[in-house]
């Protein structure tokens, strides 16, 4: 492994849209940026492809209909573009003012044209942590649904993603979902190396039946975390991962869940469903997804 575990000197980038999550995303982002002592940036992506077009079904071609059509479509796009720009700028100004008041944090704002996933990938090289809402402006608040963009973003980007919950609460206790695999071991390493969670109360949860191997894994995790100054509580609980994680998070009054993202192939997750997606759906606290 030649690349450093954590990219320092880069910014925290929070994607804002008109959903009910904007305020919470901003607060989570400000919290993370303050802890990391990293610059904070709010992004609003204008995706024009989602805009429906009013159709003219007359199906005929008259003199210069091509030029006419071009002028008409350009005018529609122009109007929409200007509205979207203005709307986005207002949103961004609003969250900037909000984090300045609540977290005393200063933030850059940025607007880009393009789909959210593509935009985030473009900006990724300069980003340390992405912050996204659990659902976007097009999703309803139905609990079982994730925002259409979230899974795509989490699968595409290579940096940690902090998924904001509906409301921001001060974060004092976090829990690492651990199973001893290489992915979750890397999660523990990242937690230890990053200033993000320094000094917070820490839990380690293994979902499964207690065994000697699991004990060994837990020993390792405890040693690593203790070396980094944490005082972890460790436990092993049997059951299905998403249910157990959600239940333990409530019982132990956890404020933030830390887990690896999408360890399995897309094909497998198509068939059996992905644990990550399940957990994201069920828990009501913010989730830090580590790649």
């Amino acid at each position: 492994m030649t690349s450093p575990l954590i990219k320092t000197g880069a910014r925290v980038l929070a994607a804002i849209d008109a959903s009910a999550y904007a305020t919470s995303v901003a607060s989570h982002a400000a919290w993370a940026a303050t802890r990391l002592d990293a610059p904070l940036e709010f992004l609003h992506a204008i995706d024009r492809t989602t805009a429906p077009v009013t159709a003219d079904l007359s199906g005929n071609l008259s003199l210069g209909s091509q030029e006419e059509l071009l002028a008409k479509l350009a005018a529609v796009d122009e109007q929409r573009g200007r509205l979207a720009q203005e709307h986005g700028r207002l949103l961004l100004e609003q969250v900037r003012a909000q984090v300045a008041a609540s977290h005393d944090a200063s933030a850059e704002i940025r607007q880009r044209h393009g789909a959210l996933v593509d935009t985030l990938l473009e900006l990724e090289s300069d980003v340390r942590l992405f912050v996204l809402g659990k659902r976007g402006e097009h999703a309803t608040l139905a609990k079982a649904h994730l925002g259409s963009n979230l899974e795509r973003v989490v699968r595409a980007v290579h940096r940690p993603v902090l998924v904001a919950s509906r409301e921001f609460r001060p974060i004092s206790r976090f829990m690492v979902a651990f199973d001893g695999s290489a992915t979750t071991r890397k999660c523990v390493e990242m937690v230890c190396a990053s200033p993000l969670l320094k000094g917070l109360a820490c839990d380690v949860l293994v979902v499964g039946d207690a065994s000697a191997t699991i004990d060994q894994h837990l020993q390792w995790a405890r040693a690593r975390l203790q070396a980094a100054g944490f005082d972890p509580r460790c436990q092993v609980v049997a059951g299905s991962p998403d249910a157990v994680i959600a239940q333990q998070a409530t019982e132990l009054a956890i404020d933030l869940l830390v887990m690896g993202a999408y360890g399995h192939s897309r094909i497998r997750s198509l068939i059996v469903g992905s644990t990550t997606t399940q957990v994201l759906r069920t828990v009501e606290i913010p989730v830090l997804l580590l790649r």
């Binding site: 429906p52 199906g59 059509l69 479509l73 789909a115 996933v117 192939s265 897309r266």
Partner: protein, 506 residues
Amino acid sequence: MVLLRLGIRTLSLNITAHLRQEWFGNIRGDMLAGLVVALALIPEAIAFSIIAGVDPKVGLYASFCIAVVIAFTGGRPGMISAATGAMALVMVGLVKDHGLQYLLAATLLTGVLQIIAGAFKLGVLMRFISRSVITGFVNALAILIFMAQLPELTGVPWMVYAMTAAGLAIIYLFPRLTRTIPSPLVAIVALTILAIVLGLDIRTVGDMGALPDSLPVFLLPDVPLSLETLWIILPVSSTLAVVGLLESLLTAQIVDDLTDTPSNKNRECAGQGVANIASGLIGGMAGCAMIGQSVINVKSGGRGRLSTLVAGVVLLLMVVFAGPWVKQIPMAALVAVMIMVSIGTFSWSSITNLRTHPTTSSIVMLGTVVVTVFTHDLAKGVLTGVLLSALFFARKVGRVLHIGSTPSDDGRGRTYTVTGQVFFASADAFAAGFDFSEVLERVRIDVSNAHFWDLSAVGALDKVVLKFRREGTQVEVIGLNEASATIVDRLGVHDKPDAERLAGGH
């Protein structure tokens, strides 16, 4: 390994996201637009079959097949491809001399050539086709489509004229009532009912040849597999391939501009090839993208691949299951629709622009139109246009050359200063810029502000230097900038010892 898997996953993720967007990003709009286009495609496919001299079913099968296949293989979502007038015009001779089976074989070969063009990324060659040539291309296409309607309008009863006029009136006036029903469809339905009710004895689509009576079946062209066959179809196939790609890439550009989204031109080339091969295998003629239909599609709200697919599928279903009614459509209604296509394709602003645009651009445009209309071959027209625009460009840039001179203080020398572009078109002007009759001891030629582009330029400089030397003048060339220096070093002779022997002697 991990990186590779990660890369593949990101790739597959992007592919699925893009596919979803290209296919299902605009379901309602695409379905409606596809329906409108299918209705407009039927008369066009029939009309273009008639131009090519084959049964209407050949064009209808082709339009179905090309639209469906290109929906998957094309590089420009939302663009409509089917049997086209440009292609039909090219195949007339082959059909007349050798028959349908050779046309099908030629269609297969066209597809192969287009796939090769896509593989070699020949789509980039489009950048050599100037705007004036493109305007000439669409104008010529419009004129040819209109001219192809004339046989239906000469030596016919007055009823046909009346019906054509009525059709055009409905097409252009009906949208003032409502824009929710395609007006060409209204025109066709109204005129067909009128003809049946009045029992008019005028030509109908059924008189022009067989219509599809079943879903298409797979079949190989019935031609001898010999070199002789290849020599018969190759010239036609290569012209078809070129014309098809030209119109397709041009239409893709138009759709790009209309929707402000990018397209993959090389994928479009190969996609057109696959579509043509599929068409040839089910008894259809070669086709390509259609400017008019693509504009109609975008205007009707079509943006995604689904619109093209719906257009093709609906076209086939309607023709197969409504065959008995399609047969009754009077040719006059078809002619009206085709006149509309011709009017809509023609770039009318290009006529008013004749006055304001540079003469050379107008000559390129008109040259393309004239050659195309006289040869009925869009490839020859475009070639003419490209050659003309290249010549005019060379002439224009060749004028960017100035040769000034100042005598030296003692009057026995002179410094020539060359500024601008020296190449084949300006080589003579370059040589003529020097006064060899003046008696001088030494001449300096300062070319630090000039560019030497080719052998002609190098040759011209050599000639000038040698001429001065033969008058007994000492020549010094200074300031050859880097670009010029590389060419002169490689090609020039004047600074080599045997220069005079090599260049002299004549």
